[in-house]
């Protein structure tokens, strides 16, 4: 069973629809016990970093997600959900994140249009379970990006600067784009995450 963390964020239902379509058993939940027991946890997110962290705190889920990571359960953060996995963010002041991947979330340089909105072409940086992404376009909507060690970057795109599109730290994964909105390519990546979980 996959848990999709329910903390009142925009795109959770579309993510659920994609998993349902792929027949991946999943539940939208903010129940700590369920999240701790699930085979994988997906952390979605749309909106602002600080508000999202506050919402996770309110539901007492920050420690829960850290426990899930320590246990070795695969976690996948999507879009803002990926950004929350890092140590901190600059979005409207300095805010502390979940600290599951070393790095910091900073603004996209303003010599390009912000937000980055649309399909960008990925380059695989490292061999991984998500190797199918190399050369493929996925759908992005974001104004901030993760600045992190190269060893944690599996794929990236160019937009004003190099922007990590898939990141990894052991059992913790993040996708900056929306796989649930990236057509067949995105559905395949969600399938590949399922394979990671089952392996």
């Amino acid at each position: 069973m996959f848990s999709i963390v329910d903390y009142d964020t925009g795109n959770t239902r579309n993510l659920k629809k994609a998993l349902d379509y792929l027949q991946i058993e999943n539940e939208l939940t903010d129940d700590k016990e369920k999240i701790l027991k699930s085979d994988a946890v997906i952390l979605p997110g749309v909106g602002a970093f600080a508000a999202a962290m506050a919402e996770l705190e309110k539901r007492d889920l920050v420690t829960t997600l850290q426990q899930v990571a320590t246990k070795g359960t695969p976690i996948l953060g999507i879009c803002l959900g990926m950004q929350l996995l890092f140590d901190s963010s600059d979005e409207y002041g300095e805010h502390v994140g979940l600290g599951l991947i070393p790095g910091k979330v900073i603004a996209i340089p303003d010599d390009v249009k912000v937000p980055q909105m649309g399909w960008n072409q990925n380059k695989a940086i490292k061999e991984s379970k998500f190797g199918s992404i190399d050369g493929q376009f996925t759908y992005f909507v974001h104004s901030y990006y993760a600045k992190c060690d190269e060893e944690n970057i599996l794929a990236e795109v160019e937009y004003g600067t190099s922007i990590p599109s898939i990141v990894e730290n052991n059992n913790v994964y993040g996708m900056q784009f929306h796989p649930e909105k990236s057509g067949q390519v995105g559905l395949k990546l969600l399938k590949e995450f399922q394979e990671v979980v089952e392996s």
């Binding site: 602002a48 303003d110 909105m117 072409q121």
Partner: protein
């Protein structure tokens, strides 16, 4: 590189797609899900659904359409038509829309843009602007489906809309709409100089070359068309190949 977007637009009335959608491989040419899936198959980068008879009753039907389409079609969906409150925006986003387009209501009350952007993020608030040139050559904003002229200058209004929190602009040239004479390049040049958010051009698409022209010269991020795609005069694949040939990044 971020790809330029090719966006088909679908008019929806009472939960059915109107305006002669004419794909010969569909069993039901009015079914939004089937049509959306066909456009996805052809390689559309995003879909815009416009509720053309947006009464309260129809709006409920529209949310059902969005619900159904987003369960089967996994690409960005923008929904517009009659959106006039934060509740309307919320209902559409909840049903599965990724972005909501506001037109007349934003002109009447620009604070609606701000309220939507603050609550849901500016990335999902699109301000749609219908534009026509007046006798002295000034671009003027029209509302109520192009029926009512305002006193607003379109370039100024685009700027104001972005200042209020619009994350994207969908700009339709009413003068070019339906003419197939190509997009109004100078309109997009003027607007792209004053805002730093993505711009979608609409109105006038006739040939595949019209798309590469508006990308190259108009500095827009997406180009929208309805009839050329609906009637099968152009396929999305054809347009994309032609645009790619011109050296423009396309998915």
């Amino acid at each position: 590189m971020l790809a330029k977007r090719i966006i088909p637009c679908l008019d929806v009335d009472s939960g059915r797609v109107k305006k002669g959608v004419n794909f010969n491989n569909l069993t039901d040419v009015g079914d939004p899900v089937e049509i959306a899936a066909e456009y996805q198959r052809q390689g559309a980068d995003e879909l815009v659904f416009l509720d053309i008879t947006a009464t309260n009753e129809h709006r409920k039907t529209m949310t059902q359409v969005v619900e159904q389409v987003s369960s089967q079609v996994f690409m960005p969906l923008t929904i517009g038509g009659g959106v006039s409150s934060v509740q309307d925006i919320q209902a559409l986003l909840k049903a599965g829309a990724d972005k909501v387009a506001i037109n007349s209501a934003a002109v009447d009350n620009p604070d609606l843009i701000t309220a939507g952007a603050e609550k849901f993020g500016n990335q999902c608030i699109v301000v749609a602007i219908d534009v026509s040139k007046n006798k002295s050559g000034e671009y003027i904003v029209y509302i109520h489906g192009g029926k009512t002229a305002t006193k607003l200058n379109a370039i100024d209004w685009a700027k104001t809309a972005v200042e209020h929190g619009a994350g994207e602009l969908l700009i339709t040239s009413m003068d070019r709409d339906g003419t197939k004479d190509g997009f109004d390049i100078s309109l997009y040049q003027e607007i792209s100089q004053v805002v730093n958010v993505p711009i979608i051009a609409s109105g006038g698409a006739g040939r595949a070359l019209d798309f590469s022209e508006v990308f190259k010269q108009g500095n827009v991020d997406g180009a929208l068309a309805a009839s050329v795609f609906h009637y099968g005069e152009l396929t999305i694949e054809e347009v994309k190949q032609a645009v790619k040939k011109e050296g423009i990044t396309i998915r």
